[in-house]
Amino acid sequence: MTDWEPKITTFLCNWCSYGAADLAGVSRLQYPPDFRVIRVPCSGRVSPKFILAAFRHGSDGVWVSG
């Protein structure tokens, strides 16, 4: 184990996954604080450009959920 923490860019659909992430909070589920969420109106908005840009800016992972 090291202290290294990954940086994960997360695109969440406003109508489903973003709400689910809210519900995870309401339910007080605990998960690692490595995600940075970008709210999108629909996962269809996530262009491949954004994913590449996230990696270019140092993300270790990109998660698109919708």
Partner: protein, 904 residues
């Protein structure tokens, strides 16, 4: 209640544990509680019947710990009197309590649960977090049985003669979902009498459950459940279809309990003076499906007969339409409108960003270093003002925020707090109140998605909050004010179809004050109902129908177009332009909305000697004989009905819904004409749902014989020396039965018109059976995903008159919500095309689910794409798919999202 911020501290500190009714008492909750995490309003309540303070006069722990002083234990019950123009009753149902059935061991054995308890067991928010275990030892069950008709179709033990309509489907669903949870090894068996899957796509679901999911279906009414001493197992003895006695053991048994009217509701009905049926349900008439016996009081949902969600939603809108019709002169007299100050133009101004960081009591502040985040925000570019608030959403903080925006001349706002899904509109209101465009705002979620989920890692949660604020600031600096264009709505309506549904819908629209054009392809109004004799409640259809036709013909708001079809449709919600064609004569009508009520047809059977022997008739032909008082009817010695003729077969796998009831009603009428007549009904499942069950019981008592057949062994009809002979295998007698009939009535299927032309005109979909596909199977049954187009009657799915009229009223109610606005506000976050970059590839046009993009037809950019902001829902699918970079999604532009990505 305004002060409660739903932090949950009161529930945490409350010492009193009580049964959790929301979870069917399978677990405990506190006396200070919120029903469930997604409850609306999300405000905690004190359960007065269980609270220690209310019982014993001391405790008040919740009051002491509440950070916002939201708890007032001195609050007294108040009596309010309300003046209203109409009342709608939507009180719902109570589930049948099976503890009175001693033989089913519900009260004694923990592994005998009701279907409602099983719903909670399956639910992720339920007592076992969605892990399928049995209550006795929390072990995963290997075998589960469902017993149908517990508290339904039973006058011996519980005095509920009706069918609860929904249990067959919910039991199948529970079995399918249980297998999804536990894997295919789980054995699920449903014990039933008749499988009543009569709704849209229900039979397909039943077939899939049987064939794809491997759910077992056993036709038997189970008399009792036996338990084994010293074991958690349950034994079900039953008589199988061949009459043999078997038994099987299960780990868990689910009782599919019926829907009942509660005693309190019966008392309320008495107080209001409204009539109930023999099943203690609200009495309504087929032609007035949501009207109670008292004027001005309407009913919807399960109180008017057990029903599923879409039918409840349909009736809810119908009741609204009826209430709206009697109050239409007072429309908009009591609603209030907000005054909005003029919007300040900030285009081109340097961003002046204000950042408000919320502590949410200790919800955020207890984990995240809020002052640290606030100070960090001050270092970010364009940030002119920062502060932190204890509760940003409170009314006084909103007032302060408005003041701060004005004093500091801020033009972009970031709030770091809870979730924008619940609170964004509130903060946007504050922006609007000081003349800022509401899109100059960004909210970032440092509670639900930060402090609440990382409570043991405060440092990293604080770092995450800082990152999120930095991302939000980067985005908000680039946002521009967006306009929400306003669009006038043409207040006229077009109804397509002059049958019962179309007429009921047109009448309802007219009653609510709108002008209607009604189009009928034939030469007269009335549609299919012209061929029908009487309803299952015994109402004369022709009498009611001619009254409806007359009310349409004498209505000055309604213009009738007979012998007319549509030849083209242009435009979109609020502004349609439709060309009508009547025998070559063209007429253009302009309208704001359209209702599709084109109905369905009776199929012509190609079996059972139909068309070859005049004694073989369809449903509708038999009704015609009834209406003509055909003298030959009295001489019939033996009449036979064959059900599911062309329905529920591989080529047409749906149920036509009305036939079982219609055949039984016809059989009873024949018995009225000649009590000595022998009558046989050959069926697969009798689907007399709801209180229709009474006529099934009546028919059995009247001596009408019911013989079941399976789709693999259908009856054989032959003609032998002019004798019409029907042979079929009787599974109970275990022998072939031969009937010589004088009349053979075929319950021929109801088929759609497969109107692809109409579907294309309005850009609405048809399903594989040719019926129109509604917006949402549960919540949008009377409208289309295409705005401004509505749906009712048999064009949606086969249904009886009462349900057709209910849906017609529902379609008109949904339409009025648009027409009453007079203008439509279009969302600001929509896609736009820069035609200079467009390469006319058409990807956006083909990919959009809402048909918003199209090709420009004239001018310098002919052939390039444009997006109709009225139709655009702002999903951004086209934007991400555009290979030329010509499309932009306002509010979620490439630059704005890239700015966020850059800051991660």
């Amino acid at each position: 209640m305004d002060k409660c911020i739903a932090c949950g501290l009161c529930a945490e500190k409350c010492p009193k544990k009580v049964d959790d009714l929301y979870n069917e008492n399978l677990i405990k909750r506190k006396a200070a509680y919120v029903e469930y995490a997604q409850a609306v309003p999300l405000k905690y309540a004190i359960d007065k019947d269980n609270c220690i303070y209310f019982k014993k006069g001391k405790c008040r722990a919740c009051e002491k710990f509440c950070p916002t002083d939201a708890i007032n234990l001195e609050e007294k019950e108040e009596e309010l009197s309300i003046h209203a123009g109409a009342i709608i009753l939507a009180p719902g149902f109570t589930a049948f309590d099976p503890s009175e059935y001693l033989t089913y061991k519900y009260a004694k054995h923990p592994n005998v649960v009701t279907s409602f308890e099983f719903e909670r067991i399956l639910s992720a928010t339920g007592p076992f977090q969605g892990h399928l275990v049995r209550p006795s030892d929390h072990k995963e069950p290997k075998k589960i049985a469902w017993l149908q008709c517990i508290g339904s179709r039973d006058i011996n033990q519980c005095d509920t003669g009706y069918c609860s309509s929904v249990c067959c489907m919910y039991a199948i669903k529970e079995a399918v979902v249980a297998k999804e949870h536990a894997g295919s090894d789980l054995d699920c068996a449903i014990f039933f009498m008749d499988m009543r899957t009569h709704g849209k796509d229900f039979d397909r679901y039943y077939d899939d459950a049987k064939e794809k999911n491997g759910v077992r279906f056993i036709r038997s009414r189970v008399p009792t459940i036996e338990s084994v001493e010293g074991s958690d197992e349950l034994i079900i003895p039953y008589v199988n279809e061949n009459g043999d006695i078997s038994e099987e053991s299960f780990d868990m048994v689910v009782l599919s309990v019926g829907l009942k009217t509660s005693p309190e509701l019966i008392a309320l009905a008495e107080k209001l003076g409204i009539d109930l049926t023999e099943g203690k349900l609200c009495q309504t008439a087929s032609f007035h499906p949501v009207s109670t016996s008292k004027e001005g009081i309407y009913v919807c949902g399960a109180f008017a007969g057990p029903k599923d969600i879409p039918q409840s939603v349909i009736e809810a809108s119908s009741a609204a339409a009826k209430a709206g019709a009697c109050l239409s002169v007072s429309r908009n007299t009591m609603t209030r409108e907000k005054k909005v100050p003029e919007e300040k133009n900030v285009t081109g101004d340097r961003p002046r960003i204000g950042v408000f960081v919320c502590q949410c009591g200790i919800n955020i502040g207890g984990v995240v270093d809020v002052p640290g985040v606030r100070d960090y925000a001050e270092s970010l570019p364009f940030v002119e003002y920062v502060t932190d608030n204890l509760f940003s959403c409170s009314t006084d903080t909103q007032d302060i925020m408005a003041q701060v925006i004005k004093e500091n001349n801020l033009n972009r706002i970031v709030v770091a707090a809870c979730t924008p899904k619940t609170h964004e509109p509130l903060f946007q209101e504050t922006l609007i109140s000081v003349g800022l465009n509401k899109y100059l705002f960004e909210m970032t979620n440092i509670r639900n998605q930060d402090s609440w989920v990382h409570k043991d890692e405060p440092d990293m949660a604080t770092q995450k909050a800082k990152d999120l604020v930095r991302m939000a600031v980067a985005k908000v600096a680039l946002v521009e004010p967006l306009v929400e264009p306003e669009l006038d709505v043409d207040e006229r309506a077009l109804v397509i179809g002059g049958g019962i549904s179309g007429m009921a819908s047109a009448k309802s629209l007219s009653d609510q004050g709108y002008n209607v054009d009604i189009v009928e392809r034939s030469a007269q109004l009335g549609g299919m109902a012209l061929n029908l004799f009487r309803t299952w409640k015994g109402e004369d259809i022709q009498k009611n129908l001619s009254e409806l036709i007359e009310s349409i013909e004498t209505d000055s708001n309604i213009k009738i177009h007979l012998d007319t079809e549509l030849s083209s449709v242009e435009g979109f919600v609020g502004n349609f332009k439709t060309t009508l064609n009547s025998n070559g004569k063209q007429e253009v009508v302009e309208h704001g909305i359209a209702v599709i009520a084109t109905g369905a047809n009776e199929s012509r059977p190609d079996e059972y000697l139909y068309g070859e022997d005049s004694r073989v008739v369809t449903h509708l032909e038999l009704d015609q004989m009834f209406m003509n008082n055909d003298p030959s009817l009295k001489d019939i010695k033996t009449a036979v009905f064959i059900q599911c003729v062309g329905s529920r077969e591989p080529d047409r796998p749906y149920c036509s819904k009305v036939c079982c009831t219609h055949s039984i009603e016809s059989a009873l009428y024949l018995k009225e004409l000649n009590p000595n007549m022998n009558i046989y009904v050959l069926y697969r499942d009798i689907r007399t749902y709801g209180e229709r069950e009474y006529i099934y019981r009546k028919a059995r008592l009247a001596g009408i014989m019911f013989i079941r057949f399976s789709v693999d062994e259908k009856p054989k009809v032959s003609k032998d020396n002019d004798v019409l002979k029907i042979e079929l295998w009787d599974p109970i007698l275990e022998e072939t039965v031969v009937i010589k009939a004088d009349l053979l009535a075929l319950a021929s299927a109801i088929v759609s018109y497969k109107d692809e032309k109409l579907a294309q005109f309005f850009k609405v979909p048809l399903n594989e059976d040719g019926f129109f596909v509604e917006k949402h199977a549960k919540l949008g049954p009377s409208e289309f995903a295409t705005d401004g187009v509505f749906l009712c009657g048999m064009a949606h799915y086969p249904k009886p008159i009462d349900e057709s009229i209910a849906q017609a009223l529902a379609a008109s109610s949904r339409a009025v919500t648009l027409l009453a606005k007079k203008t439509i506000h279009v969302g600001g976050t929509v896609a736009e095309v820069n035609p200079l970059f467009c390469s006319s590839c058409g990807v956006c046009v083909s990919i959009c689910p809402y048909s918003a993009p199209s090709f420009i037809e004239e001018g310098p950019f002919t052939g390039r794409a444009e997006v109709n902001p009225v139709l655009c829902k702002g999903c951004g699918l086209c934007v991400a798919s555009c290979r030329s970079g010509a499309l932009n999604l306002k509010g979620f532009g490439e630059g704005q999202l890239m700015a966020m990505i850059n800051q991660i």
